[in-house]
């Protein structure tokens, strides 16, 4: 049933693309997602893979290679054949944070990859249990100056942990960091008021914010998030504060430019599809769909931004 439907879709797409289609791609493409199935990168990846496969006229097979905060999957693509048939769903973790944090670097985020397209930006959010006597970022900062507090994150060295560390250093407060194995258990403990504060991805926290089980104090993007216009940006209290998670497609370095162009064009068309755009909006993700050059600039900018934070927070791993 599956294969027939996909075959049908691909023949149709091939027919439409017709003679104009270049030689690439002439067989199925593997999209490596460097995290376990079910997470936000996985969801974005699967939605994109489905539609992009139709654009390219070839099936895109999703392969989850989780482990070591995304380093295993990214390292695998870095060493893969540079033919465009193995691509990576990179994130802020694989292409900015891990290379800064890890002492033994499994790959070089710039030299080992050919950027394809920056797909989406995903805001993070600072939220507290509703029993906390604070309603604004400023009140939280004031409270942290007098009381010992703790915040939960999805793990050591994750974008959420570093969002918290950046917040602490910019606000000049001390808040204990409590890492969890993923966002789910961290959320559970904040909902149960075992830990009062959390830095989380906006998509995973959004339903709890809407239902009032979490009180959102601020989003981490420079501007307010369109899906939550009432939640201020942390930058409104701490000017210059900005973090977000992002998802981008990368191919191994040395991939032929035609293949990169074909992939980037397919990614752009995919993100322009109203059905995909609608799903991304529900997910609180902002669509970028950049060119390969823009993604290369973005990676450099992100590494420059995070380097001092990682140094200040003294986060490092062997």
């Amino acid at each position: 049933m599956i294969t027939r439907r996909i075959l049908l879709a691909s023949t149709l797409a091939l027919g439409l693309a017709g003679a104009a289609a270049a030689e690439f791609p002439d067989r199925q493409i593997t999209l490596v997602i460097p995290f376990a199935a079910g997470g936000s990168t996985d969801v974005v990846g699967r939605i994109v893979a489905e539609r992009m496969g139709q654009e390219l006229g070839q099936q895109i097979v999703v392969q989850n290679v989780g482990g070591a905060g995304g380093s295993l999957g990214a390292g695998q693509v870095a060493k893969a054949d540079a033919d465009g048939y193995t691509i990576l769903m990179g994130t802020v973790a694989t292409h900015a944070l891990n290379p800064l944090i890890l002492k033994q670097k499994p790959y070089d985020p710039v030299a080992d990859f050919a950027p394809v397209s920056l797909l989406v930006l995903v805001p993070n959010v600072l939220a507290v249990n509703p029993e906390m006597p604070v309603n604004t970022v400023q009140e939280l900062i004031d409270l942290a100056k007098t009381d010992p507090l703790a915040y939960a994150s999805s793990g050591n060295g994750t974008p959420l942990h570093l969002s918290g560390e950046l917040f602490k250093s910019m606000a000049g407060v001390q808040i204990d960091h409590i890492p969890y194995k993923g966002s789910g258990p961290a959320l559970t403990d904040v909902l149960g008021n075992q830990v009062p504060i959390i830095f989380d991805n906006l998509p995973s926290a959004s339903s709890h914010i809407t239902s009032g089980k979490l009180r959102a104090l601020g989003v981490t993007t420079a501007e307010r998030a369109p899906s939550f216009p009432d939640v201020p940006a942390i930058a409104e209290t701490l000017p210059g504060y900005e973090t977000y998670s992002w998802n981008a497609l990368f191919a191994p370095a040395g991939t032929p430019p035609e293949a990169i162009e074909a992939l980037a064009a397919a990614a752009k068309a995919t993100m322009a599809d109203p059905a995909v755009a609608g799903r991304m909006a529900e997910f609180s993700a902002t669509i970028v769909a950049s060119t390969p050059d823009e993604l290369a600039e973005h990676v450099k900018a992100e590494m420059a931004k995070w380097e001092p934070v990682v140094k200040d927070a003294n986060v490092s791993m062997d």
């Binding site: 969890y180 403990d189 339903s207």
Partner: protein, 502 residues
């Protein structure tokens, strides 16, 4: 009654022809992958996620849920027949179920597992319907200190659960704890015991360890002495339990359902802990504890009911809070998000057809499983008559594919080989694999929660006894310890039971 009208709505949605068909597809697929050792529900659901794109949200979730509990059924089948737990929670079933199969009672064991699972599944489904919101509130009361004490209780149980030498059981638990430490330290990010291989940065894969110590070790043992297997296949007498056996399973099934329903709600391995807990309870209450590990009926009936009840109630935190209790539930969240449904407390009120439809489909799915599986028992048992030189290579291939499919990590296959050898050596030394596995599962949780509780209490260890739930669990563990280490008490207790029987 709100509940009745809600359930009526749910059954209305779930019994539409399309949804019945998807439920059937789900449970069939689930049974199939459960029977193939190693290929877990997680991998299958992940592969099917993109298809759910095209389906109605209710239909897709009904199908995925069907795969999940279908896999629980199928996993027990392989645990009983070839000592190869297809799912982590059926590791306990393998202990006595496989021994029953070796004594020619494979049919009985499979039937008991199916009937126990069906009963537990039905009860747990209604518990989900009635108690979902209040039960979730209880689960939220569990903080790091409570989890730590719960894990302590689990470990104490694992020692009580072993038959034979307490010292060897302790050694196995400790070995399990050490193996559980492999991987990146959650708090400092330091890699521990990874031998410099990033492939082990996230620790050893549970499926790889379980398949190794149970399954591969069993194959090695069988190759050493083929006669064992011949005996096993010749002795199959009956397929279905006798009236007497039915009477024996009532108590274990009831208790297992209770234990499983409660522990299933807790995130982080609720169903597997439930199976272990139920096994310990049955062994403690049994008039013939010496039978456990040698093919006790209660040792199959109790844990099977417990793990199925746990599998069912683990939907409670998912449906009411949007919090996954295990990796499969995390995938279900992914499936909901793909459909544009944000899982969380609002699902019940905003999408009642979805919520109640899924709950009703769980019961329908369980019914389908029992109807499917009881007639199939004869077929499964015939599997045992397949000559070993055909069966073993097939099992090995299936295991390898299954283990690899979890993370696409070839190092997991090295782990299978290593733990297969270790399991073989352990069986030669008469050491039990079950306490090792429990130590392996609970160790990381124990450590993580101990340290988290200590950070939260700012270094004050009294947090474990000043929080009531935590203190209660610790007292309970102490009581279990006393029962284990004072054999006189056990002897006297046995006498009391004999007297009351007379």
């Amino acid at each position: 009654m709100d509940l009745l009208s809600n359930l009526a709505l749910g059954f209305g949605v779930a019994s539409s022809l399309a949804n019945l068909a998807f439920c059937l597809i789900g449970v069939l697929l689930g049974t199939l992958i459960g029977v193939l050792p190693g290929i877990g529900a997680t991998a299958t659901i992940a592969m099917l996620l993109p298809i759910t794109f095209q389906l109605e949200p209710v239909s897709s979730l009904i199908m995925l849920a069907g795969i999940y509990y279908g896999a629980q059924y199928g996993g027990s089948t392989t645990a009983i027949l070839i000592n190869m737990p297809g799912e982590s929670s059926s590791a306990v079933t393998a202990i006595d179920g496989y021994q029953m199969a070796r004594k020619g009672r494979a049919g009985t064991a499979l039937a008991v597992a199916a009937i126990g699972s069906f009963f537990a599944g039905s009860v747990a489904t209604f518990l989900v319907a009635i108690f979902a919101p209040p039960l979730t509130a209880i689960a939220l009361e569990f903080g790091a200190a409570e989890y730590f004490s719960l894990m302590v209780m689990g470990l104490v149980m694992s020692v009580a659960l072993a038959h034979g030498s307490v010292l060897k059981a302790l050694a196995m638990v400790v070995l399990g704890l050490l193996l559980g430490m492999v991987g990146t330290d959650v708090y400092t990010g330091a890699p521990r015991f990874t031998l410099g291989m990033t492939q082990f940065a996230d620790g050893l894969n549970f499926v790889a360890v379980a398949v190794g110590v149970f399954g591969i070790a069993e194959i090695l043992r069988n190759l050493e002495d083929e006669h064992d297997r011949e005996v096993m296949t010749r002795n199959i007498t009956r397929l279905f339990p006798t009236r007497d056996e039915f009477r024996q399973m009532v108590g274990p099934v009831l208790r297992g359902t209770g234990v499983g329903s409660v522990l299933g709600i807790l995130p982080g391995g609720g169903a597997i802990l439930a199976a272990f807990a139920s096994y310990t309870v049955e062994k403690k209450l049994s008039k013939h504890p010496e039978e456990f590990g040698k093919g006790a009926l209660a040792g199959v009936a109790g844990p099977e009911s417990a793990n199925n009840a746990g599998a069912q109630t683990s939907f409670i935190p998912l449906l009411t809070l949007g919090i996954p209790a295990n990796p499969v539930m995390a995938l279900m969240i992914g499936a909901m998000i793909i459909q544009g449904i944000v899982p969380g407390p609002n699902v019940v009120s905003e999408q009642p057809e979805l919520f109640w439809g899924i709950i009703a489909s769980m019961w329908i799915g369980n019914l389908m499983l029992v109807v499917l599986n009881l007639p199939l028992i004869g077929l499964w048992v015939k599997l045992l008559t397949v000559p070993y030189y055909v069966l073993f290579p097939i099992i090995m291939a299936m295991c390898s594919i299954g283990v690899y499919s979890v993370n696409s990590n070839p190092y997991d296959l090295f782990a299978v080989a290593f733990f297969g050898l270790l399991g073989y050596v352990m069986s030669k030394l008469r050491c039990e694999p079950a306490p090792l596995l429990l130590g392996f599962v609970l160790g990381p949780l124990l450590e993580e929660n101990l340290r988290r509780a200590m950070i939260l209490s700012r270094g004050d260890p009294t947090t474990f006894v000043t929080r009531p739930i935590s203190a209660g669990l610790l007292v309970l563990s102490l009581a279990i310890l006393v029962l284990v280490f004072l054999p006189q008490i056990r002897k006297r207790r046995d006498e009391v039971f004999t007297e009351s029987d007379a």
